[in-house]
């Protein structure tokens, strides 16, 4: 038998995720059964499989549990302010066009406080890749109602159940202009990794929603079992429907979870469009910004 166990939490030789982690910061802060770490596995597999030049990749997070991803990955990484990962990423991308910019954040950060930035970045088709871990709640602050919390769910700020309608994220992002929109759950690790890889290869605003357990605050408070029960629930109720109309993929407390790639379309990204337009308007006078020029 060649199974090995190691007691030291700082090293895990051979684990493909290892070289992507700031292992000196392990163990991480996420709760037992939290799905964020699982999405990080998929992210690193996607990077490995896409043979991405890791020096040309930056990750930008906002605030919250998922916001901590930036602090654990051994890449140029930015843990910004609450809701503002996308405008930070916009500035970063425009200043350093050769860098692949990934925004990795949570549903509250991206769709409540950061909602305006998200729709505008999608409208511009800014070439940034958004991974939204949707645990349906504000986890870092103790499980309050998020704009993604389905109806009739108990939260810290809805002790009698939520009656505040939730956003259907793929529908919103498609309407705003994203060229790539997909949804998976943390159960769908292979599909998620492949989807991320596909999104990285596509120029323009890409968005993947990953439905993920928050066993400590969401499932427990709603008597929905632990993280493993949630994963089994995802397995049971998920239905893959590639190309499903996003208007029909809204989430409910215990109903079907439609997963798959919903949108994959062509539209010039912001920078390409800007260059073409200015070239046309200014002709020879146009001097494009060519990345860092900072003596």
């Amino acid at each position: 038998m060649s199974t090995t166990t190691t007691p030291d939490c700082k090293v895990h030789p051979g684990n493909p995720v290892e070289s992507f982690l700031r292992t000196d910061r392990m163990p991480h802060i996420w709760c037992p059964g939290c799905g964020i770490g699982t999405t990080v596995n998929c992210f690193t597999r996607a990077l490995i499989d896409s043979k991405q030049d890791l020096n040309k990749l930056a990750i930008v997070s906002g605030i919250g549990c998922t916001g901590r991803v930036a602090g654990y990955v051994n890449l140029d990484s930015f843990h910004t302010t609450h809701g503002r990962a996308i405008p930070f990423a916009t500035g970063l991308k425009l200043a350093s066009p050769e860098t692949t910019v990934v925004v990795y954040s949570g549903d509250g950060d991206l769709f409540a406080i950061g909602g305006n930035h998200l729709i505008h970045a999608a409208r511009r088709n800014m070439d940034i890749k958004v991974i939204c871990v949707n645990n349906l709640t504000y986890a870092m602050t103790g499980g309050q109602t998020a704009p993604t919390t389905p109806e009739d769910v108990i939260t810290a700020t809805a002790p009698y159940g939520t009656y505040d309608p939730a956003f259907n994220l793929p529908y919103l992002v498609e309407a705003a202009g994203a060229v790539y929109v997909a949804r998976w759950t943390t159960f769908h690790v292979k599909q998620l990794a492949r989807s991320m890889q596909e999104m990285f290869a596509k120029k323009g605003f890409g968005f993947i929603e990953v439905v993920s357990p928050c066993p400590t605050l969401y499932q427990r408070r709603n008597k929905m079992g632990d993280a493993l029960d949630t994963m089994k629930f995802y397995k049971e109720v998920s239905k893959t429907k590639h190309g499903a109309p996003t208007s029909e993929v809204g989430l409910t407390k215990s109903g079907e979870i439609v997963v798959g790639k919903f949108v994959d379309r062509e539209r010039p990204d912001f920078t390409t469009h800007m260059h073409e337009h200015l070239q046309h308007s200014l002709g020879d006078k146009y001097i494009p910004a060519e990345g860092p020029v900072c003596g």
Binding site: R25, A58, A70, P87, G91, L92, S96, I287, V293, C294
Partner: protein, 386 residues
């Protein structure tokens, strides 16, 4: 190093302060601006949007000031010099990112063309009422640098200075204009590029194993910089962090980190601060002012001198860090100081604090909308001189 000639519009120009500030930013090497329209500052980014595609720069109009003020920080980490411009309500929205820029030691420039407040206030009319907000508006302890031009020429010169200081100390620097200076049109002389001193970004040359993004260097106590794509795999966070940039939320690290963020400016305040003094030696009364008010105060001072009063002037070019050493030295030598500003008492609090009761300090406040009537400043001078 010298300015890049691509961006320098050498020659004598007739332009307003907003446009001059834009030219100063370009001359200083700014190649990225993000903005959101707001009166009376919009002309700065309007000009930048016109100039940018012809000098290899990028302008983006963001969806709000929150976005603009952090897009520039993203751009800085992408390797360029960047700035944003706003006024009143927009400046209020940017407060969180002042703190983030301070905390992450991101060199950048904010231009605030001050208008009357609070709230929407007087969109088209002047005030100088954001002077305390710029220093104290973001939460937590911090120090920043703020400069106050009083002419379009200074809007050009001090914007360059702002970029230079931001690179030197890895700190956000603020050009605190006011509506009058922003919209006043005067002669602005732009030197040739080889006559403009520009502070380069201090990119580290250390290797990956020895470079620490937040390890202080030199008497500036300021770490070296890097940008994405260099293989340093930096981590930048607004959380309390150690020298590597890793979150470390302990009282000991908080103490060490915040102290350095503050002392890198406080310990270098005498080097950073610029004031303009005139006939202060032997004066009974010194009139303290800044921005457009300094030009109105000059009229009052001339009237007082015509009456035989011994009046000097002290103009704050650097408002923050406050030039304490100058005021502490001056207070025992004069009968009093008259502080004129377009607000109901902001920088006068600093003057009083540094005077330590050793001379009288009189405030000549004005809620904005117009500049002072010089007679009001004259009356205060006469009163203090008595």
């Amino acid at each position: 190093m010298h300015a890049d000639p691509v961006g320098v519009l050498t020659g004598a120009h007739f332009m307003d302060g907003d446009h001059a500030a834009c030219e100063g930013a370009i001359a200083a090497g700014a190649r990225f601006a993000a903005g959101y329209p707001i009166t009376p500052s919009t002309e700065v980014v309007e000009r930048f949007s016109n100039r940018a595609p012809r000098i290899g720069a990028t302008f983006i109009q963001m969806e709000d000031e929150l976005a603009a003020s952090i897009a520039i920080l993203g751009a800085v980490w992408g390797g360029v010099k960047a700035f944003t411009v706003t006024s009143g309500p927009g400046f209020s929205l940017m407060m969180e990112h002042i703190g983030y820029a301070v905390m992450t030691e991101t060199p950048c420039v904010f231009i605030d063309v001050q208008r009357g407040g609070p709230s929407t206030g007087l969109p088209t009319l002047p005030a100088q009422a954001d002077m305390m907000q710029v220093k104290w508006g973001s939460h937590g302890d911090y120090e920043i640098i703020a400069l106050c031009p009083n002419s379009p020429q200074e809007c050009f010169d001090l914007t360059i200075q702002a970029f230079n200081l931001s690179e030197k100390y890895r700190v956000p620097v603020f050009v605190m204009m006011d509506e009058v200076v922003g919209h006043m049109t005067e002669k602005v002389v732009i030197p040739s590029a080889d006559k403009i001193e520009v502070e380069p970004r201090h990119f580290t040359t250390k290797d990956k194993s020895s470079f620490q993004l937040y390890a202080p260097v030199g008497e500036e106590q300021t770490p070296e910089m890097t940008k994405v794509g260099e293989g340093y795999n930096v981590h930048v966070t607004g959380l309390t962090h150690d020298e590597r940039g890793y979150p470390n939320m302990t009282p000991a690290v908080q103490e060490r980190m915040v102290k350095r963020l503050v002392t890198k400016i406080r310990d270098n305040a005498e080097k950073i601060c610029i004031v303009e003094q005139n006939q202060v030696e032997g004066a009974d009364v010194v009139v303290v002012s800044y921005g457009i008010t300094s030009r109105v105060a000059q009229r009052a001072v001339e009237m007082a001198r015509a009456e035989g009063l011994k009046v000097g002037t002290l103009r704050l070019i650097t408002a923050w860090p406050f030039p304490e050493h100058i005021f502490r030295a001056l207070a025992p030598k004069v009968k009093g100081m008259v502080v004129a500003e377009l607000n109901l008492g902001q920088m006068v609090r600093e003057v009083s604090r540094c005077a330590e009761g050793k001379c009288r300090v009189a405030a000549v406040g004005h809620a904005g909308g117009t500049v002072h009537n010089p007679q009001d400043i004259l009356k205060a001078i006469q009163e203090v001189a008595r």
